[in-house]
C-alpha cells in the first residue's frame, strides 16, 4: 500500500509508448536552451582565466619563464606567449591554444600542463565523488529524519552537525583525523598518496584505482586503495555534509507544510506515500539546486584535503606549482576546475529539468 505512488508511476511509464505529445517539445527546447546557456559562461570563464594570466603584477613573461630565467629566455618566453602583441590578439592566440588543448608548459614538471592535469584528474575525481556519495548517503536521510521528527534527538543532532559542520576547516579536520587514526590508533595507513608503496598501481583504465583494481580482480590492491581513500574522503564528506543536510531538512519542512500535503493527508494517503511520493520528491528540487553550491565548496576544499593527505590530484599539483611560482600550471588548473564545474552544473540543471515538469513553460 505504501508503495502505491511508485507502482502507479512505473505502471504509467510501462504503458505502450504513445507518439511524443505536444508537451514534450517545450521541455526539449528547455534542455537545448540550458545547454546553450552554458556557452556564454564558458566564454566568460575563458576570458577571466585569460585576464588572470595577463594581470600578473610586473612582467608576466618573467613569471612564466620562472625564477631562474635570464634576460634572453624571458624575451623568448615573451615572444612565445605573444606578450608583445596587442591584448585582443593575445586573447585570440590564447583561445587558439586552448582549442588545441595547449595550456602552456609547466616549469616544475617540464611537461605540458594539460598532460599533467589529465594524468592527475582521476585521483581528484575519485576522492571528490567518493566524498559526495558518502555525504549524500548520510546527509539526505538525516535531513529527512530531522524534518519528520522536529524537536526529537535526531533533529537536535542534525542542527548541531549542521552548524558544527560548516565551521570545520577541512585542512584542520584532516589533520585531526590523521592524528587520531594514524598516530594514536594506528589503524589508518600513513597519509601519503593514493596507494602504499608495497602495492603496484592497477592498470590504468579509468584512472580510478578502486574501479581499475576491481576490473583486474586484484582485491588486495583494492583494499589498499580504499584504506588510503577513506580518511581524505571522510574529511571532505564532513565538510559537505552540513549544507546538504541543512537544505534537505529545510526543504522537507517546507514541503511537509505545503497545502498539497494537507490534501494528501485529507485523502487518507499512507504515511509512506505522503513522505516519499509527495514531500520528498518536491523537496528534492531545492536540494538538487544546492548541490551546485556544494560542488563549488567541495572542489575548493579538495585542494586543501589533497595537500593534507599528499593526494596526487590536480589540487596538490596546483599547490606545488604555487610554491615554485609555476603560473602556467596554476592558471591551467583554475581553468580546468572551472570547466569541470560548469559541466557539473549543467548535469545538475538537466537533472532538475528531469524532475520538475514545470521547466520549459512560461506559465506560473
Amino acid at each position: 500500500m505504501s508503495s502505491g505512488s511508485i507502482v502507479s508511476s512505473t505502471c504509467a511509464r510501462c504503458r505502450p509508448v504513445k507518439p511524443v505529445s505536444v508537451a514534450a517539445y517545450p521541455r526539449l527546447r528547455a534542455v537545448a536552451f540550458r545547454v546553450a546557456q552554458s556557452i556564454p559562461v564558458v566564454i566568460g570563464v575563458v576570458v577571466i582565466s585569460f585576464l588572470l594570466t595577463r594581470t600578473l603584477p610586473g612582467d608576466p613573461a618573467a613569471y612564466f619563464a620562472g625564477a631562474a630565467a635570464d634576460e634572453a629566455s624571458i624575451a623568448e618566453v615573451r615572444k612565445a606567449l605573444g606578450l608583445d602583441k596587442p591584448l585582443i590578439q593575445q586573447f585570440f592566440i590564447y583561445v587558439g591554444d586552448l582549442m588545441q588543448g595547449d595550456l602552456g608548459q609547466s616549469i616544475s614538471s617540464g611537461r605540458p600542463v594539460a598532460t599533467d592535469l589529465a594524468s592527475r584528474l582521476p585521483a581528484s575525481l575519485e576522492l571528490t565523488l567518493t566524498a559526495l556519495i558518502l555525504s549524500c548517503g548520510i546527509a539526505i536521510p538525516l535531513g529527512i529524519l530531522a524534518a519528520t521528527r522536529p524537536g526529537s534527538w535526531v533533529d537536535h543532532l542534525c542542527r548541531v552537525l549542521v552548524t558544527a559542520g560548516v565551521s570545520l576547516p577541512t585542512f584542520f579536520t584532516g589533520i585531526v583525523l590523521i592524528y587520531v587514526f594514524y598516530y594514536l590508533l594506528g589503524i589508518a595507513p600513513s597519509p601519503l598518496g593514493r596507494l602504499d608503496f608495497i602495492y603496484l598501481d592497477p592498470d590504468r583504465v579509468t584512472g580510478f584505482y578502486l574501479i581499475d583494481a576491481a576490473l583486474m580482480g586484484d582485491w588486495e590492491t583494492w583494499r589498499g586503495a580504499a584504506k588510503q581513500l577513506i580518511l581524505p574522503a571522510i574529511t571532505l564528506a564532513l565538510f559537505t555534509l552540513a549544507p546538504i543536510a541543512r537544505m534537505t531538512r529545510a526543504a522537507m519542512l517546507t514541503a511537509l507544510s505545503s497545502d498539497f500535503i494537507r490534501t494528501a493527508r485529507a485523502a487518507g494517503l499512507s504515511r509512506g506515500t505522503i513522505l516519499y511520493g509527495y514531500a520528498f520528491r518536491n523537496a528534492l528540487l531545492p536540494v538538487v539546486t544546492t548541490l551546485g553550491m556544494v560542488f563549488s565548496f567541495t572542489l575548493g576544499a579538495n585542494v586543501l584535503v589533497e595537500k593534507v593527505f599528499a593526494w596526487p590530484g590536480i589540487g596538490s599539483y596546483a599547490v606545488e606549482a604555487l610554491v615554485v611560482s609555476d603560473y602556467a600550471a596554476v592558471q591551467g588548473f583554475v581553468l580546468a576546475m572551472a570547466l569541470l564545474f560548469v559541466a557539473l552544473n549543467l548535469v545538475i540543471d538537466l537533472l532538475y529539468t528531469a524532475i520538475d515538469p514545470r521547466i520549459g513553460f512560461s506559465s506560473k
Binding site: 556564454p40 576570458v47 594581470t55 576547516p169 585542512f171 572542489l299 585542494v303 604555487l322 592558471q331
Partner: protein, 292 residues
C-alpha cells in the same frame, strides 16, 4: 485576531528590548554573543595581554607540550603557541571583516541597480555573476591571489570578489520582490523619486536578511583566508595567522606533536562557529519561519 491587544509603549519595544528578549529565549544565541565578545576582545587587546612575544624564538624550549608556562605548548622554534594564537585573531578578523565589508557595499549597489531597474544592467550583472560563480570559489581566489601577487591586501580582494555574487544576488532578489510592493508604489505617489524610494524605502527593508548573510559570510571568509594561507598564499611566516600555524603544525602531527596544529585550528573553528551561531541567531530574530 483582527485587533492587536494594546501594548504599553510601542516605541520601547524597539531594537534593544527585542534583542534582550530574544537572547533570553535562546541561550545558544547568548553563548554566541559571549564568544563574539571574547573574540573581539582578543582582537583589540590581544597583543597587549599575551604573556610572550609571538615572534620571540627560543631554541631551548622548542616543541614543549602544553604546560603551566605555555598553555598551548611551544612550536618548533620555541615560540609560545598561545600568544601566537591570540595575536593572530586581529589579522584573521581584519581580513574577513574588510573583505565582507567590501563585498557588502559593492554587492548592495550592484544588486539594487539590477533589482530595481532591471533591463540591460540586470542582464550584464547576471552574466558577470554567473561567470564568477562558474568557478569553484576557493579555486578562483587561489587564481586571483596568484595573479595579483602574494599579499594580504590581495587575499582581501580575492575573498571580497568571491563573496560579491552572494550579496548582489540577495539584494537583487530582495529589491526585486519589493519593487512593485504597495509601499514602494505608495512612496512614489507621495512624491519620492526612484532613487529615494530605493534608498529610503526598499533597501532598509532588505537589510535584515543581509545582516544574516553578513554574519554567516564572516565565518566563511575566515575559513577562506585561513585556507589560502594554509596553502602558502597571502600571509608569510613568521607572521602569526591561524591557517599558516596549522600548516606549520601539520608537519609535526605524524610524529605526535599535536598541539602546534590543534590549538590554532580549534581557535579558528571556534571563531567560525561563533559567526555561524550568530548568523543562525540573527536569522531567528529576523525570520522565525526559516529556522533550521
Amino acid at each position: 485576531m483582527t485587533d492587536t491587544p494594546l501594548k504599553t509603549t510601542p516605541k520601547a519595544t524597539g531594537g534593544f528590548d527585542h534583542l534582550i528578549y530574544v537572547l533570553r529565549a535562546n541561550p545558544v544565541t547568548l553563548l554566541a554573543f559571549g564568544m563574539f565578545a571574547l573574540i573581539m576582545l582578543s582582537a583589540i587587546l590581544g597583543p597587549a595581554l599575551v604573556p610572550y612575544d609571538p615572534l620571540q624564538t627560543n631554541a631551548a624550549k622548542a616543541l614543549h607540550p602544553p604546560s603551566w608556562d605555555h598553555w598551548f605548548g611551544t612550536d618548533n622554534v620555541g615560540r609560545d603557541v598561545f600568544s601566537r594564537v591570540i595575536v593572530a585573531t586581529r589579522l584573521d578578523l581584519w581580513i574577513s571583516v574588510a573583505a565582507v565589508a567590501l563585498s557588502f557595499v559593492v554587492g548592495s549597489v550592484l544588486g539594487c541597480i539590477a533589482g530595481y531597474w532591471g533591463g540591460w544592467p540586470d542582464i550584464v550583472l547576471n552574466r558577470i555573476l554567473d561567470t564568477i560563480m562558474a568557478f569553484p570559489l576557493f579555486v578562483l581566489a587561489m587564481g586571483i591571489v596568484a595573479a595579483l601577487g602574494n599579499t594580504i591586501e590581495n587575499i582581501i580582494y580575492a575573498t571580497a570578489i568571491i563573496n560579491v555574487p552572494f550579496y548582489a544576488r540577495l539584494v537583487r532578489a530582495e529589491v526585486n520582490i519589493r519593487r512593485s510592493a504597495g509601499f514602494a508604489q505608495a512612496a512614489k505617489l507621495s512624491g519620492n523619486s526612484d532613487v529615494r524610494v530605493l534608498a529610503m524605502h526598499i533597501f532598509p527593508n532588505a537589510l535584515p536578511p543581509m545582516m544574516v548573510q553578513v554574519s554567516l559570510n564572516l565565518g566563511w571568509a575566515i575559513l577562506n583566508a585561513a585556507g589560502l594561507s594554509f596553502i602558502g598564499l597571502g600571509v608569510r611566516p613568521p607572521t602569526p595567522e591561524w591557517g599558516i600555524m596549522v600548516a606549520e603544525g601539520a608537519n609535526f602531527i605524524v610524529s605526535g606533536e599535536w598541539w602546534m596544529a590543534v590549538f590554532p585550528g580549534l581557535w579558528l573553528m571556534m571563531a567560525v562557529f561563533t559567526f555561524n551561531l550568530l548568523g543562525d541567531g540573527l536569522r531567528d530574530i529576523v525570520d522565525p519561519r526559516k529556522r533550521t
